[in-house]
Every structure is written in structure tokens, then in C-alpha cells.
Symmetry: C2
Amino acid sequence: MRFPAATLQAQTHAVLLAWGLQPDCAETAAAAMIHADVAGIDSHGISMLPTYEMLRERGDLVPAARPSTVRDGTVTALLDAGGGLGHPAAMAAMRLAADKASAHGVGVVSVRNSHHFGAAGQYAAVAAERGLVGLVTTSARSVSVVPTRGALPRLSTNPIAFAAPARRSGPFLLDMSTSTVAVNKVKVYGYDDRPLPSGWVLDGDGVPVRNPHEALGILLGAGAGGLTPLGGTAELSSHKGYGLAVMVQILSATLCGATFAAAAAGDGRPVDIGHFFLAIDPAAFREDGRFEDDLDDLLDLLRATPPADPAQPVLVPGDPEATARDERLRNGVPLSGVLVGQLREICGRAGTPFLLDAAS
Amino acid sequence: MRFPAATLQAQTHAVLLAWGLQPDCAETAAAAMIHADVAGIDSHGISMLPTYEMLRERGDLVPAARPSTVRDGTVTALLDAGGGLGHPAAMAAMRLAADKASAHGVGVVSVRNSHHFGAAGQYAAVAAERGLVGLVTTSARSVSVVPTRGALPRLSTNPIAFAAPARRSGPFLLDMSTSTVAVNKVKVYGYDDRPLPSGWVLDGDGVPVRNPHEALGILLGAGAGGLTPLGGTAELSSHKGYGLAVMVQILSATLCGATFAAAAAGDGRPVDIGHFFLAIDPAAFREDGRFEDDLDDLLDLLRATPPADPAQPVLVPGDPEATARDERLRNGVPLSGVLVGQLREICGRAGTPFLLDAAS
């Protein structure tokens, strides 16, 4: 079933309002979520509503929260998301970092006491739209990634997003978890009953798990092991992905005092999430426009790399999302019947009209 | 053969002085190079002298260069290394970034027109020694890494280093190339005639090369293919390592106007290298000391992860280097006979005494 992005955004907005979000926060969050769906990042858009509902019902999420400024220096700031959804705080934080970078060359804004903020890339992209380089990282709640040599998970999929503005080309936009894959990718192999590539999931003895159902059991906590850091196995340098995941944890959470989820799980403490936003103005280093021109040349040269298989041209980060955006703005965003059913029930519980009856 | 670090540093210093480096620059570069050797990073220390000699003989390297400040803003600066060795410019740049961060919360310094600066991690560590978080990236000359789906190399091994200060523990120190492995690791497998792990090197059809001699041929340009980005194969998400390599290229070179080596190779232009230095003061975000305490807890918890194999405990980035440092400061730094022979010849050509006759 496919739906126009505007319909999905209206539905999401209505649910968030019914849950008690501030009107402007509901608007920002709904726009951010559907932005992810339109870019093809199905795992970070409207499909998160069931999780957000669960967090709200458990009392972990403070729906009516409004982000507040705790510290505001010349080129740094600290925001508190008040325990609300992360999207409004994240958007405010990146805009503030961008303001500081436009004025002084660089800005760093940190957010504590937050929740899931959706796809990290869109906040980095906000910097690029303003002619700035943007770097975004976030911590997360679920502990799924096993340190190199470890038998148990200690880290989250801790993403890094990075964007930079070009002129002819769209912006460079990298948005990646620091694990080899996300839990969702393992689920898809489970649905299809396909063996996993070796190196996505390890058991407690450090041995790759190929059976997708056994792997999902491990990821649900039924046994030792978990997702691998980028690299996969020690032989393929998973210590680098592990190191990047710790770097993201430090920037996102240690810097602002947010939780380290693995420690909180041990103590039974609630988990808050931290985010990190950096913006840099290329004009502080180069004559106006030269950065964008050089980035165009760089991206052109990468795309022109002779491919190993002529049917699969070399892409640059951001290309798959741009292609999805073109297609989905034209044809609508596909949602599974299962998800549409869940959304119908969420609307019922929230007491807000269900808008997804008529597929476009 | 093992040598005291002080002897290696005196030897390196003498060679650099004989080549015409400014005395202070020679001192900084020699200290930085031997710092890498002591930390066990053999590929980035005194073993680089033959390469530096070659660059000097070709006229690519300007030995007498002194780094100069091109732009100096409140929280950003641009240095020009004058075509000299990268170490003095890099050390000056990180110190300047740290000064700005200590004064204003964050500092970013970019260096253009530089050469190899050794191990990136030691500049990040300078920030951590001053109580700051440090991030360092650099571009490089040699084009060896194949974009995901590509048949030819377009990127360098573009490293990322990140350091953060703890209190009880040594600093967190990540220093990694964004490729799965470096060329040197493939060479070692060649010496030992061992098959390579699948995913280190791909041929022009995107197929993993296991024969180390065939792989070395490819890396020397005898055929299509090259090193893989971190992740190894597309199935194990090498697009993430590829994206990180481009991010490093943009931060290090596009931001300051240094060369993109793959483009320069096509045009026959000389290649200059760019570096990027970011320092952030945790005290801009948290009460004094809380960051360091939380980082101690984080590192403790990671090290306490139950290991898959009890004989191989879980480490954190920086642990192997700290262990090497303890051992080498006690027992001396091991150099191969081949390298010692090369150094003897270099000393002869430079007209400076050879100091490595008597192994300690």
C-alpha cells in the first residue's frame, strides 16, 4: 500500500498531538519522521510510532516536553530535551550549531535527556542546506553490539551522520550505524528464511551465526552474542567499528552526561539519550564557493569510477536516499499491511481519526 | 635488533637536520616519529625515513619549510605547512585548536600544503593531555582504496583519530585507517606466504583476492582492484567504510583546498596533503571532572565485558599502544635488519653519523 507523504505526515502529526506534544514539537517531529520515510529509511519514520507509544505508556517519554537551553556560549550550547521525543530538540540543536558556525566558523551543540530522534542524516543535511559542513551522532537505548573479542553486547548501533554542501550536485550525505547492519536487516532475512552473511551476528563464542532465527533469538537476549561492529570479524578489523561506536558514545552521551545504556541496564536505571551536533563553515577556511566547487569535482570523480559490474554503478553516500525521494514523492511511500494495521490501532487508542484507509 | 627510543630519536633528528629542516621542526618531527615507534605503530615512525628521503630527492618535499598561519579567527585557523614534513605543522595546529577550545569551548584548525604527519593518534592525544576531546583526520598521497562497487582505487587509507581524557584510566585513543587494513599488513602476509583473509583486497571484478602476491601486485598497480574500505565487502557494509573515507577526504582536504590525490594522479599535478584538527572542551558542557569520571566508568565497563575466549580479554582503543609503550620503553624498539641497513645508507647520503651500530 502506498500513501502520499503529506497524508502520512498529517496522520503522524495528529497522533503526536493527541499524545500531548506541543503543537510546534508535533509538527517538527512529524515532518522529520516522514522525511525519513520519503528518503527510503523505513526503519526511522512512521514505523517508529509503535515504539514511541510503548515508551509513552511506560512513562519513559514525556510527551509535553519542550527543549530548553541549559548553557549557551559563543560557539557551544547544551540543550535539555526534557525527556521528550528527540526530533524537536535535535532540530533546534542543529539550527543553533549552524547559527554559531555562520557567525564564528564553528558551533557545537549537545543535547541530553532526550529520546530517539529518527534518522541522524537529516540534521546533518540541515547544516549542508545552510552552506555548512555538519556532523551528527547519537547514543541509543538498546544494547545490541558486541565489542571485538566480547561475548555479550555492550554498545548500541550508535550512528554517525555527516553532510557537506556541493553546488551542481546534491549535498554529500553519509548516515550510517557503526554496526555492520541493524537489527531490522536480520529480521528481513528471518522473514525470507535466508542464511545471514557471515559476520553480521556472532554467538557468545565469537562464532558467526548464519541461521537468521537463531540470530534473532540472540538479538532478543535469548543467548550470548549480538550484532558485530562495522568490520564484522576481528580478522576484518571489527576493532575499528567498535572504536567508532565508543567514539560516538563519548561524543553523544559522555560529553553531555546522558546514560551509557549498558551501565543503566545493569543498575536498572532509566536510560536517557544524548545527541551531538557540529557545524563548520567552509568560508572560515577558503574563498567563498571554492569548497562547493571542489566537492562537486570529488563527487563526480567518485561516481565516474569504473564499476566492477557495469550494471551496478559506483554511488556516493546520499545517492540512494535521493533516488528514493524522487520515486516516493512521485509514487507515494509504501507501508506494509502489518504496519498500517498497527497505526489504525494506535489512532484508536489515541482517539484520533485514522487517515490511511484509502491507499493512493 | 632493539634500540633505546632516545637513540632512535637522536638518529632521526640528525638525519632531518642534515636534510635542512629547521632545528625546532626537526626536533618536533623526530619526537613524533619515535613516539609512533614506541607505541608499536612501526609503519609510521622511523621506517618512514626512506619515503621522506625519496620525496625530498624528487623535490616534492620542502625540507626547510616552516608552517605559517594563513588565517587566524577566534575559534578557527588555517595553517600552510609550506610543503614541509607534516609533523611540525600538525603539532602546531592541534596546539592552536586546543588553545581555542580551552578559551571558547571548541577550536578547529585546518592545514594545507603539507606532507605525511606520521600517526594521527598522537595529535588527538595532545588534546586529551590538555583535558580536551580531540579529533584528527588527514588525507594522503597514495590512492589504494576501491569505492564500494568500483573496479579501481580512488581513495587513500584516510585515517581518523579520536582521543578523550579519563581520570584513573589512560585517555581513550582511537587511531584507525578507514580501509579494512593497510598495505603493510598485506606485505606481511606476502613475506609469510599466507593466504589473505577474504575481504582485504578485491580484484577489478570485485572478487576477493586471497593470494598475497597477487594482492600486492594489484596494490602496486599491476592490475585493477585494491584495498577494501572498512567493512570489506558490500555484503558486510563496505559502503560505510567508503563513506567514512570520503568524509575524511572532505574534512582534511576539501575544507582547506588540498589535493584529491585521485584527481591529481589523472592530471599529473603534484599532491599536497591536508589535515583537520578539532578540539572540544568538556567543561563547556558539564561540571568540571564529571566527563572524566564517566569516561572511566565507560572504559571499565567495556574492559569488563565477558570475553568470547578467556585468553583474549576485551580491550579499548589505546590499550594495545599503551602496552607496547610500556614494553618498548623497557626493552627498546625492535627494528628489522633490512630497515637498519636502509638507515645506514640514508645517514651516509645525508653525511651524518650512523648511531645504530651497537644494538642495546
